[in-house]
Symmetry: C2
Subunit: 423 residues, 2 copies
Amino acid sequence: MTDTPAFEPLSIETLPERLGAVTALTDRIGTDTAAWSVREVGDGNLNLVFIVDGSDGSAIVKQALPYVRLVGDSWPLPLKRSFFEYHALVRQADRDPGRVPEIYHFDQDQALIVMEFLSPHIILRRALIEGRRLPDIGRDLGLFVARTLFRGSDLSMAARDRKADLGLFSDNVELCDITENLVFTDPYFDAPMNAHTTPQLDGIVARLRADRDLKVEAQRLKTLFSANAQTLVHGDLHTGSVMVTDTDTRVIDPEFAFYGPIAFDVGMLLANFWMSYFSQSGHEAEGSREEMRTYLLGVVEEIWSVFAAEFSTLWHTERTGMLYPRTLFEDQGDHLGAQQALDAMLADIWRDMLGFAGIEMHRRILGLAHNADFETIEDPDLRARCETRALEMGRHLAVNRCSIASMAQIRATAKRIEKEIVT
Amino acid sequence: MTDTPAFEPLSIETLPERLGAVTALTDRIGTDTAAWSVREVGDGNLNLVFIVDGSDGSAIVKQALPYVRLVGDSWPLPLKRSFFEYHALVRQADRDPGRVPEIYHFDQDQALIVMEFLSPHIILRRALIEGRRLPDIGRDLGLFVARTLFRGSDLSMAARDRKADLGLFSDNVELCDITENLVFTDPYFDAPMNAHTTPQLDGIVARLRADRDLKVEAQRLKTLFSANAQTLVHGDLHTGSVMVTDTDTRVIDPEFAFYGPIAFDVGMLLANFWMSYFSQSGHEAEGSREEMRTYLLGVVEEIWSVFAAEFSTLWHTERTGMLYPRTLFEDQGDHLGAQQALDAMLADIWRDMLGFAGIEMHRRILGLAHNADFETIEDPDLRARCETRALEMGRHLAVNRCSIASMAQIRATAKRIEKEIVT
């Protein structure tokens, strides 16, 4: 252990020398480090991200820093998040092959992951802001959440393995803490790091922060988030964590992974499509986005229907864990019993998914971490109108999640909000 | 590490020599080991338990064995359960002072705990079989569950500390596995280790094992048990885990401790009082137990009402964890918001508690581990009548838990079952 070099951030200059002996990297991009071209492209809030181009190919090098990059030394954040990202990527690759970047190399002490360079992929959020309609994302993302969330739960895993994994990821406490505070609590009071479009949103923000039912629901959902350790969730599954081409979809950046509710990933994902929907009218300078809005509501419906269908298929074909064992149902000829239990579980996931989605839509407008969907709308009055619609939708979903029965209802609600809230 | 002596079971003969140098023990019972009197009194299923009487006092020495004592080598069970028992006792002593035995010494490698000898305490289950009406147990046990369960949750603890503790107890996998299988699954099919009073119960057993709604509910509750890591639960809180005098109540044997649902401990505890209720008519040879039955229903009501009242008090006075923070409610003058959230949480606990209670009542009659309450009824026809009533009650509670509103309803149901099921 005394030989371990201390953590040292990479730089454009030092990267070739420091990683030139990693054969998993040189095998792919070439051994002539003098010919490597290195760019730093990290546009997230937390980490260093380098693209390394060599004579034979390219790779991504992602390195954690011991603090939040966006804020600096004053907000320390442990390097071990790289360890959790690595372990999450390995599990996701196993559970839904081909949907995450291939890992070439992991160095725990240096908190760095060398992985596949995705090209010509771009960030999904960016594509949606541009009005691009990706044909496969509904199917791909629906399958991804169904497969990773089912296969990481006690429906599939050996109980012993899941509990060992629960213990491992329980140490990802600092990143859970970010979600617990920034998503579920801070948006609902005047927390120091909050920001919103002001003064346009001041009225609705005050109303939401005085909304008792909403605040109680947000904390009920936080209780589920913190204690309902059903499966290994991605933990940060928004449209900025997805890279796309017209024919490929990849999910990246699972450093927030932990054992949490199945509904969390699904809800956060759909929330970001609903936010995209309400942001479109802020991007109509070059033409109507009406077809884009129709497309986005279709993607939401497809993600949910593909998720539910694939989850159901896995339930019937891969239910090898300790929950709802076949000995109690199919093996006794009681196929309807297994179906009844599946329907009940999907109803629970649906209900909680709506709640998580509603809260996510609030925190992206009221809290610290905002979305480019809205932030790129320069006119504050226009931006505030889009944001107001999303805030109203979020409140509706979070508070009424037990009485919303179908995507058709939500589609109608979204259209009504888009049409009727005009100031 | 090489100096650690290998695990070796204690015996009556070797105990004085092996523990004679433990000053935490000799300080209490005397240093003259030649004068020590040692008895082995383990009447549970898992461990060795010695009473050691010295010149100055007495102590209990509890040692785990690397297998299930009741079954033998063929069912291995790890020694580390002693580690979890020790850690649970330490936390419970902190959270509800005076309610668990005092720990004198813990030896992790030898899997032994030296602790307070409780005298003249007897096991609560035994007292109830004898028809003794203990005056304080409703209050004492209600406070115990409220305090230990509230103070071990994210309502009270720092999130970081709870997650570290969650990681620690996630390794108690073998004992969780026992509960997961023996409580929630095995009773509902013809599992090899099951036993029931036969042929008298064959009819109702077949009916329960074909009861789709019941089996689905049992597995929904198992899902909560395995994934809803709200707080550190005792994990085996039945009337055989409580020792009593007329003026003192102590809770013992938390080796099944893990992070689970608040409702689990409460439900298992109340189930054992309801089983005692239905067993009383099997113990009426020396006189009516009608007053005892009234007493038992009163204890159940008192445990729940004390639990709810103390949980509410702690909610209002010690809610220092990350859930439902005062910043969102009281600090904004919204006291009713905090009350609304508390009411919702108590409603959730009530509903799940009834489910866990119902399942516990089944597994004690259909599964491997039976209760002395029923087992000591020698006449199989009489025993089967008592058991049938408990089985019907368990089914009623588990399946209807969402629509049972009050203890008054349950009291009426219990009396109706006691009166009307006569074969």
